[in-house]
């Protein structure tokens, strides 16, 4: 079972290939995905002397994250799955972030305009992702009696948790966490692949302004 895994949600573009659940090739660039994503996929495949036809499934981070990066990554993943007629596993950024730690945690990332995407992960790892003002989420975190870990994708809200040893910022989704999250996530097929879009949890700023 060979799986191609793509993450274009942040400042790094990550391409991984796993074989029977273990990482067999990786190509990570500190670059946005527009130009090099497909070259990276080719490079990763070449490393293990494989071709796209050898892939059995694709996993891709669908967000939240960089608007353009995700549009590119999700389009790449679903087009590859469409052509190769293989299943696709959508991965959610905050689930991957949580998978990097074995403990229950809060995960969050900047959503712009003083908002943040956040999820409170239970011991089973499941979580509902939402978007809310960072002030509200910070208050909830500070009053959580079971708080063990705060993980942020990026470091926008670092100053809100000064000296808090439970806080940790991450500038990219770690390969191990991506693979682990992939094992836990369900796959989709057929029409669900074609209709897949990045996670747009909130309207664009233009739409927000227009609705006022």
């Amino acid at each position: 079972m060979q799986t191609l895994l793509l993450d274009t949600s942040g400042p790094f573009t990550t391409v991984l290939i796993t074989k029977d659940g273990t990482l067999s090739a990786s190509c990570i660039l500190r670059d946005r995905p527009a130009e090099h994503l497909h070259e990276q996929i080719q490079t990763a495949l070449d490393t293990i002397h494989s071709s796209p036809r050898d892939l059995n499934r694709i996993a891709a981070v669908v967000g939240p994250g960089s608007w353009t990066g995700l549009n590119i990554g999700v389009t790449a993943a679903k087009t590859l799955a469409q052509v190769l007629q293989i299943p696709l596993i959508p991965l959610y950024t905050l689930d991957v972030l949580a998978a990097s730690e074995g403990k229950p945690s809060w995960t969050l990332m900047n959503a712009g305009r003083s908002q943040c995407y956040y999820a409170q992960h239970s011991s089973s790892g499941s979580a509902e992702m939402a978007v809310a003002p960072i002030d509200t989420v910070t208050r909830q975190i500070h009053t959580d009696p079971d708080l063990t870990r705060i993980l942020e994708y990026g470091d926008t809200f670092k100053e809100r948790f000064p000296g808090n040893e439970m806080y940790r910022s991450m500038d990219r989704l770690p390969p191990d966490a991506l693979v682990q999250a992939m094992h836990a996530a369900p796959g989709i097929q057929g029409a669900d692949i074609k209709s897949l879009t990045p996670v747009y949890l909130q309207p664009s700023h233009v739409e927000q302004d227009a609705s006022r």
């Binding site: 130009e35 080719q42 608007w67 990554g73 790449a76 747009y200 227009a210």
Partner: protein
């Protein structure tokens, strides 16, 4: 040779299958008018989101209509230059994935070349190099001498707004909705084109330079002065001014450069009064006018595949690393038709 052409340069998601550069086996376009209508123009982030949601269905539909599968494709072509950056990258990502997964050549096409080639498709027997191309849309207004495949000379362009852009902006000022060109044309049918005396900037200059912003200001000022004005008369007069500018410059440049075949391309080529005016003016000079079929005027994948067929013979395939560029020089000679700062 079967080429899948993809265009996501602005707000239409287009995919088409074209055989041997001229036989359009399918041409599917998903319009985003409804998504942008309330904003009175295209919103780039929304356009990108809609492209991402639509692209797989449009490609599938193009293949199904052409009664082929991915395995039958010989190449995939995509508009990668000229347009909205956020939109272009979606089509480019899809095209690269198809090239990679099917192991077929990837052909990047300048969006403007797609419009230029919309007239050449299936007409190589009657349309001969060199010819003059007036390409008019929301993003550009150009007069080009098409010297040979992929080689152009810039004979004129707008120094400010594009013709399609001022049509959209005036329509927005009148609350006519989007796209504005079609709304203006519809209202203008019942209006008097001589009711208002709008300026025709640079019309009498001997060169091919256009300017539309002064006209736009004059029209919007007229609207602001009299909110109860006769919209049909205003639209007819405004449309006539745009047509006069486009036709007179085109004829003058054709005469100056002795180009007897003239093609009209781009979204504004859908405007029937413009087509008629150009035909009428051409008859006087015994020039030949070529206009593309109406479904090849707006942004579409067929024109991209059509251009790719000819240009692939000249240039060969592109690497998977081709980048989308909002503004890119055109053709072998690298024509720069926008302000220099746009190319940085």
């Amino acid at each position: 040779m079967l080429i899948l052409g993809i265009d996501t340069s602005c707000d239409d998601t287009g995919a088409a299958v074209v055989e041997d550069g001229h036989q359009v086996r399918s041409n599917i376009v998903a319009s985003q008018y409804e998504a942008h209508e309330r904003f009175g123009g295209v919103v780039p982030v929304i356009a990108a989101r809609e492209h991402t949601a639509n692209i797989s269905f449009i490609i599938e539909s193009a293949l199904e209509t052409a009664r082929i599968s991915f395995a039958d494709l010989d190449a995939v072509a995509v508009s990668h230059h000229q347009g909205l950056m956020l939109s272009l990258v979606v089509g480019v990502s899809a095209a690269k994935s198809i090239a990679l997964a099917c192991d077929i050549p990837l052909i990047g096409i300048h969006h403007l070349e797609g419009h230029i080639y919309s007239n050449l498709m299936g007409r190589s027997d009657e349309l001969h190099f060199p010819f003059l191309c007036l390409t008019v849309a929301g993003g550009h207004t150009l007069l080009l001498k098409v010297v040979s495949h992929g080689t152009y000379e810039l004979l004129g362009h707008t120094r400010d707004d594009a013709a399609g852009e001022v049509l959209d902006k005036v329509a927005r000022h009148l609350n006519l909705g989007y796209p504005g060109g079609a709304a203006i044309e519809k209202l203008a049918k019942d209006g008097n084109p001589h009711a208002y005396s709008f300026p025709r900037p640079l019309m009498n200059r001997p060169d091919g330079e256009f300017s539309f912003s002064g006209l736009k200001t004059a029209v919007t000022a007229a609207i602001d002065r009299d909110p109860d004005l006769n919209q049909a008369d205003l639209c007819a007069s405004f449309q006539q001014a745009v047509i006069d500018l486009l036709v007179s410059k085109t004829m003058r440049i054709a005469q100056k450069h002795q180009l007897r075949q003239i093609t009209l391309a781009g979204g504004v080529a859908l405007n029937t009064p413009l087509r008629k005016a150009l035909q009428h003016a051409a008859q006087e000079h015994e020039y030949q006018i070529f206009t593309p079929p109406r479904d090849l005027c707006m942004d579409n994948g067929a024109m991209v595949a059509g251009a790719a067929y000819s240009l692939y013979q000249e240039r060969g395939p592109d690497p998977l690393s081709i980048a989308a560029l909002a503004n890119a020089p055109l053709g072998k000679t690298g024509i720069r038709y926008r302000h220099e700062s746009k190319y940085k």
